[in-house]
Symmetry: C2
Subunit: 199 residues, 2 copies
Amino acid sequence: MSNTNIKTLSPRKQEILTAAQKLFSEKGFNAASMRDVAKKLDIRPASLYSHYNSKDDILWEIAIRCANEFHQKVDPIAKLDLPIEVRLEKMITAHIYVIIKNINASAIFFQEWKHLNEPRLSEYAQSVAEYEALFRNLIQEGIQEGIFRNDLRPGFITAMILSSVNWIHQWYKPEGNMTAENIGKQAVRMILEGLYKAG
Amino acid sequence: MSNTNIKTLSPRKQEILTAAQKLFSEKGFNAASMRDVAKKLDIRPASLYSHYNSKDDILWEIAIRCANEFHQKVDPIAKLDLPIEVRLEKMITAHIYVIIKNINASAIFFQEWKHLNEPRLSEYAQSVAEYEALFRNLIQEGIQEGIFRNDLRPGFITAMILSSVNWIHQWYKPEGNMTAENIGKQAVRMILEGLYKAG
DNA sequence: GTCTATAGAGAGATAGAC
DNA sequence: GTCTATCTCTCTATAGAC
């Protein structure tokens, strides 16, 4: 799943994908039409079908490429021989990096996945489950080692952490001065240390 | 905005709303059709229009009633004369309570608002902004009083907190044994104290 | 208030010329 | 690979009988 090879796209396919990502994320998959995508590229709707066989195929390409991006950036960090809290910090920062570098694609990844059909929907779900397990296992490890609190279930903690960062695409504006590292550091501080003032 | 009076619905309108909430939240607003709603109630699609003038009107009723529910439950708590962290805990718990008691409506509230049209979209945005300000102002207060950490911006903290709890509708299953109070207490612990083991 | 029937718009997708 | 033209389907919504 996480090893799916992602081919390089032809220039035209890349243009279509970029236009579709913007439109699908702004209006939602169903509200954005193939006519909208074509208009954005100044071609006729029918021409799109020389590159993609269906609208569903475009959604799938967006989703699977985004899933691969998350895995590609985060999987290696989970295997590093580093202190647990350092690994968690690096994984969260990498996760946020992927979101910010693929702001439209990640919005679709998180919000429009329900419009995938089987068997793709199951493949998506499995990829997400495996990805979340990276975080959950690390947190579990931290609890067992006595670093992390042991009064909350790892699944609950994981859900809260990923939820808090997966919403970034809703408010992040590229023109702002916050980098992924910047946001990552702040998010990790909040997640690890909480809101109370230390001391 | 937060004082909009919510009328009691006729039994039929309530049935339509319940069916629409389930379908809109499961399939998304655009993918769920008026035919789907009618089928669920075992009536003809045309009959729906004796109760609601349009599909947009149904979405609006769902959104505005949910917004009012949040304000109605949380606004009074923000005004209570209680320690800041107690107020925050009670507000978060009440917020989670509204999500869980209106699991379909809140999913639509958070995910389908982009399908609102003007001027309703602006009214929605203002209601949300006012609501978020309740939390942000409280956090700001806590920072000034030296209770909360002062190295993170209140807006950033607010976004992280609300994001982490607004995702509950994605994983919450009513058949589970977690109550709103239960989830609220755990979420608040995580938010205030963080992941690190105390001591 | 619900029905049958259907108008009118817009969707995804295909055929075949160039 | 892009075009024109169009098929077919589904959607929201309306008209008018009961």
